[in-house]
Amino acid sequence: MTLARDTAMKNPTNSLKRRFSLKFLKTLVRIRKSRPPPSPSASSSWEIRWRAQKIKLAAYSSMALSVGSKRTWSRALTMKLRATMGNRRWSSWKGSKKMTKRRIVAKKNMEKRHLEKDMNSGLQQLRQLVPGGESMDPRSLLEETAHFVRCLETQVRVMRSIVEGFPC
């Protein structure tokens, strides 16, 4: 069952990288156009910070949208970002789904075992970091984390390429 599950939930692919790049670049062009008319002097630091915030949000939302609804973390992140769009402040990740009885039971089962006793605080920290993590059972949390990390790496790689692609 693990094998089937693995192939069904693939790791980030090249097509994801392309989808993300396209979405993100389009948003960047839009962000650039949204700036006030160019002035002879350099932009104020406030404007730069404002733009940086928009770019950061664009990066995460482009990635979450590119992943789509097939991952719990991407769904949770998309919902989270929609709620904060228009709000400048970047709030911390928090789960939005309720802890149903089934999830509470799954969590409790994990906590009983000796192997997982050492992991509990680590798992708890992970729940705060992975979007939607609060309501995941431990196995899903670990799977989603792996996918989330790889997507974040892809996001960083693409952003770095864009930054380095700019003529000095």
């Binding site: 990288k17 733009r51 192997l115 984390t145 960083v156 952003m159 864009i162």
Partner: protein
Amino acid sequence: MSSRRSSRSRNIQSDSSETRITDDQISDLISKLQHLIPELHRRRSDKVSASKVLRETCNYIRSLHKEVGDLSERLALLLGSGEADSDQAAIIRSLLMY
């Protein structure tokens, strides 16, 4: 449900469709994570504890977030300066790289 090795505690009050999480599956997932984290990949030993993998994963995610923030600032600087046309050209060039 297909039969699989499950470990000791059986007093689980779950739905019949609830999949039992085995220690093996957890170890599997933990080792997969271990291979993702550059910090742990360097060590090349199998002796990394699960809790250390989780801790390092959290640190790695935080560092990735920080990097996204830094790159966003650099992009903001790049987008804010220079001629309009050259910006667009640079962006399109980056796009064509893929």
